[in-house]
Amino acid sequence: MLLTACPVDRYTVRPQTGMSGKQVVQALADAASQEKQAGRFDNAAGLYERALRIEPGNAGLWTALADLRYDQEQFRQVVALTAKSNTLAGDKQALRIRNWRLMGDARKELGEDQAAKAAYDRAEALEATRTRRWF
């Protein structure tokens, strides 16, 4: 279940500061996304870090960085970053689901199958509540 191909930045990085801060964080996230597409991972990471310095409480940014680390095969970092994002995600269910799935993917890569399953289960459970709400 690889989510890394999805254009994560567009919908997960939602700036939380005022109008102006939004533009800055969005601009940095967009630039990071472009750098990532171009394979310049270091630059992309640097741009996400700059955005996080401006808005450390933006859960979506942490997920975007986790996504990048997945591409860089830094799976331990993916686990930590998605966990960090979850602590900030509040009631953003979609983001939480995404974090658990990404964490599951990383755990799997690390050969931690049980932990991976636990993460996927968390994602499924959240998905189920969401679906129930829809109906």
Binding site: Q23, A45, R53, G57, V79, A83, T87
Partner: protein
């Protein structure tokens, strides 16, 4: 028949001739080999790495964007430190205009670790402490964000303390070259390294004086002298100099030689640091890059070559002015500048800065930490010679706030007279909560003194600062402990084999019976804390300390629970940073990236983290640490800081008031402050009466974000009766709402629950 006497004489003559011939041949050959050797020396050094360039260390760049909280004064300070000049109309890089909150700045081009940023003329407006407009002046295009180039804050020097910023000849003003030609070597572009006329003149002058008094050297000879040879003045050395100068000119063109000269020449001294080359001299005397200097300033620097100390413009402005004007006159006489240009230049002020910018050794404690972190990845030799560019996380605004707070509060706390006067010392470490970047380090009361770095090396008892580790260990077991659990604060005697009995005391010398866990921490009760720690087991508390970031081995003694262990302020910072970041451990970083001398990225130190604790117990602990400030031992802070910041923190005091600690954090800044004496004598301060004041004084100067602890989904709030520790009901008069991990809140109703609804109940439940 040949006369034997004749024959012998004849033979001798032949032999003498042969001897002469061979001798001459031998000497000629030796000379040739010597010249070949000199040639090799000349080429090897000129073509290899010419100088051991020190590592240059930069502070973090100021990142500008709309919405950034920034006071005009701070930006003005940053511009001043960067050597920007205020002008009526800013048009050249390194200049700015400012009127009532509106800046027009022409930034300098700069190569950051990730990209190059061109010079830009932009408008920046600050309204009510916040950047409200950021746009390029041309076309009024809005800019999302922009970085000012970082301030160079220091260097890590090669062994011989030569410092320089190499420049390329193509970047050098024609005025600099013409001034050099005019005053130092008229025929530079015509001769082959040696000017015979000058040499002859020097020869006769020296002959008359009976000693070497005049050089008559060309720029090439001066370069040879400085670059290859020692300072001795002998005939042999002069001969070597001549040959090497000729060889240098034979192999290399004039531009290359001039470039080497411009970078080599000695132009001043700052303590052990030798200022070499015009690139660094420009920063050193004018606080600006060489390309921004005007003609009279270049003339002043060129004039100084003759005697950088004698013509030092800061110490001897008149001499420097006279010498500059002589250079200007020569430039005029030789047709390099016109009459009016000459006249105006002679009237221009020297324009040197009061003291060298960027070299306030106040950053020495911070640089010390940078150096130690770099030494893990680089050989010391490379750090001293490879000309690396190191981009750090140092925030000059925070550093200045920390230094000022230490200075002003210690002036007030320290006895002004007597033998104890001036003995009180301090250390401060400040980090960015979001990513573990170290923003400032103060290593002692005198920030200019690059001696003992207390922030990194002072190992001091930490007292109650260690207690959060006990409470976190407890709160991670929600089945056993919650914030409402009543702890026993009655007398405790701990017996352990082979050690004297241990009976801890409270600070107020009283015992308090049954006290809720969060209050024990807020009020820093020693006895209840120690009993809790012993209940949990020393090993598990030490394990928590390890997970928090304390890497050194701590002995499992009961007294460890009350902080009878020594840690450095940096270690304490590491521990509290893990709490401030919600249980995630971020390696504390001072370096963002390292570039080679040519700006090629070498290494990036990226943001890394590790989850060390589940978020729920850390959340509970942090709410308790907030109560330390709102109602506990740290409440003195409430008179200094707005309550809305929701600061979390902990005071620490050691036996006989030897150490005064405070560690605390807001939403964006964490700081640890220690006060004490180097000889470990009592200072008569508690954490609250000493370190906390420095902390508050410093934080008041910073742009802070309130601490908003994100409540984890597994945590709920429940009203609790303080007396019984049970669930409060309408009739309880002493109730408080506390967070609990789901399933851990008491379900049993307190005895008071059945009574009349008090005011607090209505406030919480609105019924």
């Amino acid at each position: 028949m040949i006369n034997s006497g004749h024959y012998t004489r004849f033979q001798n003559r032949i032999w003498r001739r042969r001897l002469w011939r061979y001798g001459l041949l031998g000497a000629g050959l030796a000379f040739v080999f010597w010249v070949i050797h000199l040639d090799a020396v000349v080429r090897e050094k000129f073509e290899g790495r010419r100088w051991a360039v020190p590592v240059h260390v930069y502070a973090r760049p100021l990142e500008l964007y709309v919405g950034l909280r920034l006071e005009p004064g701070r930006l003005l300070e940053e511009l001043k430190t960067l050597g920007y000049r205020r002008q009526a109309l800013a048009q050249r890089p390194g200049t700015y205009q400012y009127t009532a909150g509106v800046f027009i700045i022409v930034s300098r081009p700069f190569r950051f670790w990730d990209s190059k940023q061109a010079s830009l003329r932009f408008r920046l407006t600050i309204r009510r402490g916040e950047v409200s407009v950021l746009q390029q002046v041309a076309g009024s295009v809005d800019l999302p964000l922009l970085r000012l180039e970082p301030v160079m804050v220091g260097s890590i020097y090669p062994g011989h303390h030569e410092d320089r910023i190499p420049v390329k000849i193509t970047d050098v003003s024609a005025y600099l070259v013409s001034a050099l030609i005019a005053i130092e070597d008229h025929d530079f572009f015509a001769h082959h390294g040696v000017a015979l006329r000058g040499l002859a003149r020097a020869f006769f002058v020296n002959l008359r004086a009976g000693k070497a008094v005049q050089g008559g050297s060309t720029l090439t000879q001066q370069l040879v002298k400085n670059f290859y040879l020692s300072a001795e003045r002998t005939l042999r050395r002069k001969l070597v100099e001549l040959i090497m100068a000729l060889l240098l000119e034979f192999h290399y063109d004039k531009e290359e030689i001039l470039e080497a000269y411009i970078n080599e020449i000695y132009l001043g001294q700052q303590g052990p640091r030798a200022i070499h080359g015009f690139g660094l001299a420009s920063q050193f005397y004018f606080g600006r890059p060489l390309r921004e200097l005007e003609m009279p300033q270049l003339a002043m620097l060129v004039g100084m070559i003759k005697g950088p100390s004698f013509f030092n413009p800061r110490r001897h402005p008149e001499r420097a002015t006279d010498r500059r004007n002589l250079t200007l006159r020569e430039m005029f006489t030789q047709g390099f500048i016109g009459e009016q240009e000459h006249r105006l230049a002679q009237q221009a002020p020297l324009g040197v800065t009061e003291k060298p910018l960027n070299q306030g050794s106040g950053h020495s404690a911070y640089l010390d930490l940078v150096h130690r972190q770099l030494r893990r990845d680089y050989l010391d030799e490379d750090l001293r010679s490879e000309g690396l560019q190191v981009f750090t996380t140092l925030d000059l605004g925070v550093q200045e706030a920390a230094e000022r707070a230490v200075e002003s509060v210690l002036k007030y706390l320290d006895p002004s007279q007597g033998e104890d006067s001036g003995q009180l010392q301090a250390a401060v470490v400040v980090t960015n909560v979001g990513d573990g970047e170290v923003l400032a380090v103060v290593g002692g009361r005198d920030a200019d003194y690059a001696g003992f770095n207390r922030a990194l090396d002072a190992q001091r008892q930490v007292g109650s600062l260690i207690k959060p580790a006990i409470f976190l260990t407890a709160l991670a077991q929600p089945g056993r402990y919650t914030l409402a659990t009543l702890l026993n604060d009655d007398p405790l005697i701990w017996k352990s084999a082979g050690a004297p009995d241990w009976s801890p005391q409270n600070y107020d010398r009283k015992f308090h019976g049954q006290v809720a866990l969060y209050q024990v921490l807020a009020r820093s009760y020693n006895v209840a804390s120690a009993r809790l720690g012993l209940e949990l087991g020393l090993e598990s508390v030490l394990k928590t300390l390890g997970k928090l970031g304390i890497e050194r081995h701590l002995k499992p003694y009961a007294s460890t629970l009350l902080g009878a262990v020594t840690l450095t302020p940096l270690e304490v910072t590491r521990m509290y940073h893990t709490l401030a970041s919600g249980g995630f451990r971020f390696p504390l970083r001072t370096v963002r990236a390292v570039l080679t001398e040519d700006g090629v990225p070498l290494k990036r130190y990226e943001l890394k983290l590790q989850q060390r604790f589940q978020p729920e117990p850390v959340y509970l602990l942090n709410t308790a640490l907030q109560r330390v400030i709102s109602q506990g031992t740290g409440r003195g802070l409430m008179t200094m800081m707005p309550a809305a910041l929701n600061i979390a923190g902990k005071t620490g005091t050691t036996n006989d008031y030897r150490d005064s600690w405070f560690a605390g954090f807001t939403g964006n800044r964490l700081a640890v402050v220690w006060l004490g004496r180097d000889d470990n004598q009592p200072v008569g301060l508690t954490g609250a009466s000493g370190a906390l004041r420095v902390w508050g004084n410093m934080m008041r100067r910073l742009s802070l974000i309130p601490l908003k602890l994100g409540q984890p989904g597994q945590v709920i709030n429940v009203a609790i009766d303080l007396e019984s520790g049970l669930k409060a009901g309408a009739g309880c008069s002493q109730a408080i709402e506390l967070p609990f991990i789901k399933g851990s809140a008491p379900e049993q109703m307190a005895p008071c629950a059945a009574g009349k609804k008090p005011v607090w109940f209505k406030r919480i439940f609105g019924k």
